[in-house]
């Protein structure tokens, strides 16, 4: 059977029905009395029975109340009682063993069909039927009616007869060459009159329905209307390239391909991740977020990539959890939609379909003109102070912070744009606190978090305020992973949960070096020089134009220096020096503090040293005891045996 096809669906339905029927029958036998729930029960009295093609057709009279209260003499056909034609399958008929005058209780879900030219309604799906015996007379009736032969109608259908499927007064003439379903007006049209190659049917609102009907006839034409909750980019691994042939990379930074993705939600609250093929390589992600998040869109003809579960896609589900429960009531499948819809007490989703677009046509239409949907949940912006206090693991959080310092991972085998980045950020909620919480927080940006070229540049340049959308908080760290988006502008819609998003006033302060300082953090320190590591001191010339530290000797004239990046001779090189000093810091008096300092930064300290080292007549004695003012440093390592802290002086952005 075709997977997802109509036949498979019917099979599943059939199995469910069969088990329901046998369970019900079993219950009837064991209960031995009439079940008390009378709602929806059809009570009929059989007048005549025929058999047509193994289906039993019973002409019946509908009774208003249970005939247990009537005496047999009263069971006269009342001409005013409605007549029905009740159909039973062969199996049900064998179970019932009905005869004329029997009273049958038909439990829901039976169905009624009205024929065009007949007055008598037909009752179908009568699986849950039970014969009700008038107890005093059951034996007598058995004897009288024991061997009545049922009339079997044969040849009920003439070979000359065919079924007419068109309504007689149907004005639309069905063109036989048009083997597509008729078009109905599309909702959510962008406004331009595009000619759609597919004849699309009316819009559905259930993702599950669309997914389950995949492969079946007509599924390609089904449209589903959903709300775009998030827009982000996912890195496409190398292996995906075969799937994305002819797919232009969206943001190709040195070989890493990305795909624009949408996290959508339907009216039933179900989520799906839609991976789009690249639309345009010049737009950036910030634009799409601004234009699309919160809007409705119509999906058609999606291909299912995967059905993933919570256990397998923790990242995706942490994002889904941050959007649960829905902010407006959602529909509940299977119930009539005018009854009230539930939103609370619904468990968070445990599975999610990942869809992709079929190659060729664009099947996603976003209605940018329309208003933001009620279902949309903008990211909740918190101050960093609140985020540090969140209890839990793998929580998605959004915040607006100033980037102070950036450090790239030093693995040289990995290209620059795929290296992890460590950022140190702060905001007013951290800076304005006296003590107890750190002033600066480290944010790790993994390679799986796609950064646009703009963002990358901004992170390395001057101090910038960056919006981190849907970063992950857990185990005391904030990390930016897949589905986290870094934006330079605060999105128009975001709910600030009491966060103080004011600009930072005054200079940024770092925590001072103390016993709690850990590796890979930043801090400020002050102390007294107690020693100099002469073995690691060195100086080197750099190009005064581009800062290139790897100058070469000029091939023509070996006395001159040459910069290969500028392709010119360097006449006035800038001398850089590196020195490691040992400090005694009162804030961490037990440890040996070794700080790598750079010439160009700490001019005050080095004026003296430069002269001394150059002239090679320096005396360590003259440097010892010198006070070093507040230095901003990055902590390389902290060891306990020996108790040592190695730091490097840094410049804040």
């Amino acid at each position: 059977l075709c997977r997802g096809g109509l036949a498979e669906r019917l099979c599943r339905l059939q199995n469910r029905e069969r088990s329901a029927i046998s369970f019900w029958r079993h219950q009837c036998i064991s209960d031995d009395k009439i079940p008390s729930d009378k709602s929806g029960v059809l009570i009929v009295k059989i007048l005549e029975i025929f058999e047509e093609c193994t289906i039993q057709v019973a002409i019946c009279q509908q009774l208003e109340q249970s005939p247990v209260t009537l005496s047999p003499e009263d069971a006269v056909i009342n001409a005013e009682e409605p007549i029905l034609k009740v159909l039973f399958t062969r199996e049900t008929a064998a179970h019932l063993k009905s005869r004329p005058q029997d009273v049958i209780h038909i439990y829901p879900p039976w169905q009624k069909l009205l024929l065009q030219n007949a007055d008598v309604p037909v009752i179908l799906n009568t699986y849950f039927s039970q014969k009700v015996l008038l107890s005093e007379h059951s034996e007598a009736r058995e004897k009288t009616y024991g061997l009545t032969k049922m009339l079997i109608r044969k040849n009920i259908i003439s070979l000359a007869q065919t079924f007419r499927l068109d309504d007689l007064d149907d004005k639309l003439h069905q063109d036989p060459s048009d083997n597509q379903v008729a078009c109905s007006p599309q909702i959510g049209n962008n406004g331009d009159s595009k000619q759609h190659p597919l004849a699309l049917s009316a819009v559905n609102d259930s993702l599950l329905e669309m997914v389950e009907s995949q492969g079946a006839v007509g599924w390609r034409e089904v449209q589903v209307r959903v709300v775009i909750q998030r827009v982000y980019c996912l890195p496409a691994r190398e292996g995906y390239r075969s799937h994305t042939q002819g797919n232009k990379p969206l943001l190709s930074n040195g070989g890493m391909f990305c795909r624009l993705c949408l996290l959508v939600q339907d009216a039933y609250g179900m989520f799906s991740e839609v991976q789009l093929q690249s639309l345009s390589s010049t737009d950036d992600i910030e634009q799409y977020c601004r234009r699309w998040e919160g809007k409705s869109c119509c999906l058609a003809g999606m291909k299912i990539l995967q059905r993933t579960t919570r256990g397998r896609a923790l990242g995706l589900f942490s994002l889904i959890d941050s959007l649960w429960p829905p902010v407006v009531p959602v529909k509940v499948p299977g119930q009539s939609q005018d009854s009230e819809m539930m939103t609370t007490n619904l468990p968070p989703p445990s599975f999610c379909y990942i869809l992709t677009v079929q190659s060729g046509e664009i099947h996603v239409e976003v209605d940018e003109e329309e208003q933001i949907s009620n279902l949309y949940q903008p990211p909740t912006v918190h101050g960093l102070k609140e985020i540090l206090r969140i209890d839990g693991c793998n929580e998605r959080c959004s915040f607006w912070a100033q980037v102070l310092y950036r450090r790239l991972q030093t693995k040289h085998s990995v290209p620059i744009d795929q290296r992890d980045i460590l950022l140190f950020v702060t905001d007013s909620t951290l800076q304005n606190v006296v003590h107890g919480i750190p002033k600066v927080v480290a944010v790790s940006v993994t390679a799986s978090c796609v950064l646009s070229v703009e963002i990358r540049e901004a992170l390395g340049a001057g101090s910038r305020l960056v919006f981190f959308k849907d970063a992950l908080w857990g185990n005391g760290r904030i990390i930016c992973v897949e589905r986290t988006v870094l934006l330079l502008q605060k999105p128009l819609l975001c709910s600030a949960a009491g966060a103080d998003l004011s600009e930072l006033t005054g200079p940024v302060r770092l925590d001072e070096l103390d016993s709690a300082t850990q590796a890979n953090s930043v801090c400020a320190l002050r102390g007294t020089v107690v020693g100099v590591d002469e073995s690691t001191a060195f100086s080197w010339p750099t190009c005064d134009r581009c800062g290139n530290g790897k100058l070469e000797l000029c091939p023509q004239d070996r006395e001159l220096l040459y910069c290969s990046q500028c392709s010119e001779v360097v006449t006035t090189p800038v001398l850089k020096m590196q020195l490691e000093v040992f400090l005694s810091c009162p804030s961490r008096s037990q440890s040996t503090v070794k700080v790598k300092v750079w010439h160009e930064i700490s001019v005050a300290l080095f004026v003296l040293l430069t002269m001394l080292l150059f002239l090679q007549t320096y005396e360590v004695q003259s440097v010892l005891g010198k006070e070093v003012g507040l230095l901003n440093c990055y902590v390389h390592s902290v060891t306990s045996h020996p108790n040592c802290v190695a730091l490097e002086e840094i410049v804040l952005l």
């Binding site: 019917l10 083997n179 009316a202």
Partner: protein
């Protein structure tokens, strides 16, 4: 009550399927279970044939039509469009001889494909259509 009931019920059901199919798919499970109720064991195989788009409407320039259904065994059966007939052995046995079924799975597949717009289309010459019809006769002879 004179006359039979079942053919009229079957026709109405198929009409309803066509109507339902053109609207949103909310009622699909409803009509599926009715299909099963009325047509019994032919329902699932017929839907399977529809899923696989096995029904082709063959037309000739003069307007004659017939339906060809690619059965699960790979054999091609012909169902006539102007009368209730299929060349498959199940039709001869269950429908004509024993009156156990109203139709065979191929005929049901033809009607369902019509209702859902899932018929493939094929245009042939008069001669080719005639050959298709005559060829059936030869096989049975």
């Amino acid at each position: 009550m004179d006359g039979s009931t079942l053919p009229a019920v079957a026709e109405e059901l198929l009409r309803e399927i066509k109507r339902a199919f053109q609207q949103t798919s909310g009622g699909r499970d409803t009509f599926s279970s009715r299909l099963k109720f009325i047509f019994g064991p032919a329902a699932v195989p017929a839907l399977d044939l529809v899923d696989q788009r096995s029904v082709t409407r063959v037309r000739s320039p003069s307007g004659r039509t017939l339906y060809q259904v690619l059965g699960s065994s790979g054999k091609l059966y012909t169902c006539y469009s102007s009368c209730h007939f299929c060349t498959c052995p199940a039709f001869g046995f269950s429908v004509l001889q024993k009156s156990e079924s109203l139709l065979c799975k191929h005929i049901l597949a033809v009607y369902l494909s019509q209702a859902m717009g899932a018929c493939q289309e094929l245009s042939v010459s008069e001669e080719q259509l005639t050959n298709i019809l005559l060829a059936e006769e030869e096989d049975e002879g």
